[in-house]
């Protein structure tokens, strides 16, 4: 299990487009990924609506957790998620 924290830079927050991009990425990777606001429960990142329901806003910190032991795989995934959250 590898965890990181990312900041939402998208001016509209975690809206439909980034949520969809993340879910698509997660599904294509075949990995189990959970996300949530820092300090709150994490949810499975396989449903864009569930991710949007987190109502994460611009500037908020998100915890991303991926079920793998491969640091390189996790880092690649984190980098793409960060990119999606830039808006």
């Amino acid at each position: 299990m590898i965890t990181t924290t990312v900041t939402i830079e998208d001016p509209i927050g975690l809206h439909a487009r980034p949520a969809g991009q993340i879910v698509k990425l997660v599904k294509e990777s075949g990995l189990t990924v959970r996300m949530g606001k820092a300090g709150e429960d994490l949810v499975l990142a396989n449903s864009p609506l569930r991710m949007m329901a987190l109502k994460a806003k611009t500037g908020e910190q998100m915890v991303v957790e991926v079920e793998t032991d491969d640091q390189a795989v996790a880092d690649a995934l984190f980098a793409q998620i960060k990119d999606f959250l830039k808006g």
Partner: protein
């Protein structure tokens, strides 16, 4: 149903300059979906039905995505992800298991999202889209077709209530003309038809009586459709023959970006009458530093056509929010904290804007005028004037868009150098008619007598107060209306780039005295239709 005899004339608001003849193709009103219902006991079958219907609608989104091209494709892609969302499907399955049929279950599942996303503007919009998709899923299950089913060959004039972006994306090459029952001069249909050069007539209530198979002439210059009409009946646009080298009042150009500025410099525009600055900020996620702002302004000022450049300070509101400024959701954004009212919470932003512009002004040596939008009282105008004079060497003015400030111009003598009328917003506020409402196009027609008379008050009050007056709204791009504006006493007009030449020709074809006569004709009219036709008649005798 009334049968329309050949030669019957239906009136509305024309879009475009060329007439076209075609066969009427009525877009069918959408069939109503069956109400909520239980299934007969085959839950597994209902699940498969739902899966199939979602798959079908996802395919439809793929089609739209391909048609829309790269920029909008992302939107359709995101919508497809929402439509195929696993949680949503699970919620619908639970509804099927509790007895609802597939169509009802999916609609209930989407409706259940209301509680989660209510009150969040960005998500609510997606929810509206998702609800539309849920209806499509239900329609597919019930065997109801929801597309426009437009013919692909032949020459058709399509007739409908109004067309949404999803509708206009389906227009085929066989669509040679468009008639809408609702909609106005700034409706989506009008904008699309103008950009694709499809002759159109919007806001034509009598079009409800047009039926499939009729031959009609769409005559946008005449603001009419002629049943059974042919090309020989098309109204010709008045061709103004310039009688003098210069127009009777300066014609400036409207710009919003560097590209606009470069393009405007290729026209005969005398400077810029409206530089919309918000475009520089809407795409920024953080406040651009003063040096970056100054650089953008300098590039645009340098490229602009010769003459003064009238810069409007930021005109944003909660309906077009600037990402890095806090603009809370409002019930009525058009009546909310927008334009100069942003100074309440964002004074420093406005000061930075004016100071960056001053750096650009000094660097380029251009003559810069600044004005603030959405001013309602003389004290707001004076507050802006003091702020602007403290920030740079500008001529200072305001936009006149509210009826309130139109009644207070006398109080501004000696305080302002100029005013500029935004006729689109002035119409919206004068007639209490939402510019975004497709059903109110007729009230937003610039030929409405009350608007023309209010413009006369503004021009004469400005003159008495020693303030130069101009018009930069959409109406100033109409050559005939521009003549009326000159006749009413305005000192300049500013038109969209593509219309600068046509407006200049019109204003070079008449003398100031003739324009004043035409304005008198306009002021005497009691309806919008009469106003326009009387002015066109008067101009035709002069030409």
């Amino acid at each position: 149903m009334v049968t329309l005899a050949s030669g019957t004339i239906l009136t509305g608001l024309g879009v475009g300059l060329n007439a076209v003849r075609g066969e009427v193709f009525r877009v069918k009103p959408q069939a109503t979906l069956p109400g909520p219902a239980k299934h007969a006991g085959d839950a597994a079958g209902e699940k498969e039905t739902l899966r199939g219907a979602i798959h079908h609608v996802a395919g439809y989104l793929d089609e739209l995505s391909v048609k829309a091209g790269e920029t909008s494709a992302e939107i359709f892609e995101a919508l497809k992800m929402l439509l195929e969302d696993e949680d949503l499907f699970e919620t619908a399955i639970a509804e099927i298991e509790s007895g609802w049929n597939a169509a009802t279950a999916f609609i209930v599942a989407v409706d259940s999202l209301d509680a989660i996303f209510a009150g969040d503007a960005a998500f609510e919009e997606r929810l509206v889209d998702l609800k539309d998709l849920a209806r499509r899923v239900a329609a597919h299950i019930s065997g109801i077709h929801m597309g426009l089913d437009l013919p692909t060959t032949g020459s058709y004039v399509i007739v409908g209530d109004d067309f949404s972006p999803a509708d206009t994306a389906q227009f085929t090459d066989a669509v040679v003309g468009v008639v809408t029952i609702k909609g106005g001069p700034t409706s989506h249909t009008a904008i699309i038809c103008r950009s694709r050069s499809i002759p159109a007539l919007v806001c034509c209530p009598q079009a409800v009586d047009l039926v499939d198979g009729m031959q009609v002439l769409v005559d946008p210059v005449g603001d009419r459709v002629v049943v059974g009409g042919d090309a020989s009946m098309a109204t010709k646009a008045i061709s103004f023959v310039a009688k003098s080298l210069d127009p009777i009042i300066p014609v400036r150009a409207n710009i919003g970006s560097l590209e606009d500025s470069i393009q405007a410099a290729t026209t005969a525009a005398n400077g810029v009458g409206l530089f919309r600055t918000e475009l520089l900020y809407l795409s920024e996620t953080t406040m651009p530093p003063a040096t970056k702002q100054a650089k953008s302004y300098a590039e645009i000022l340098k490229a602009a056509p010769e003459g003064p450049i009238v810069v409007r300070t930021i005109d944003a509101g909660s309906d077009k929010p600037v990402p890095f400024l806090d603009m809370p959701h409002e019930e009525n954004p058009a009546l909310g904290i927008r334009g100069f009212r942003l100074i309440q919470d964002h004074r420093q932003f406005l000061i930075d804007q004016l100071e960056s512009l001053e750096v650009a002004r000094k660097e380029t040596g251009r003559e810069v005028w600044v004005m603030a939008p959405m001013i309602a009282t003389a004290s707001e105008a004076i507050e802006f004037a003091e702020l602007a004079r403290g920030s740079g060497d500008y001529k200072v003015g305001i936009m006149v868009e509210t009826p309130a400030i139109a009644m207070a111009l006398a109080d501004l003598a000696g305080k302002l150098d100029f005013i500029s009328v935004g006729t689109n917003d002035l119409s919206q506020y004068l007639f209490a008619a939402d510019r975004m409402n497709a059903g109110l196009g007729a009230l937003l027609n610039p030929w409405q007598p009350a608007l023309v008379r209010m413009l006369q008050v503004i021009a004469s009050e400005s003159e008495k107060a020693g303030i130069s007056s101009g018009v930069c709204g959409e109406s100033a791009s109409d050559p005939a209306f521009a003549v009326v504006l000159a006749g009413l006493g305005f000192n300049s007009v500013s038109a969209s780039r593509s219309q600068v030449g046509a407006v200049r020709s019109a204003l070079s074809a008449v003398t100031l005295e003739q324009a004043q006569e035409v304005a008198k004709v306009a002021l005497a009219a009691t309806t919008a239709d009469q106003c326009k036709s009387a002015v066109l008649d008067a101009l035709a005798t002069l030409a």
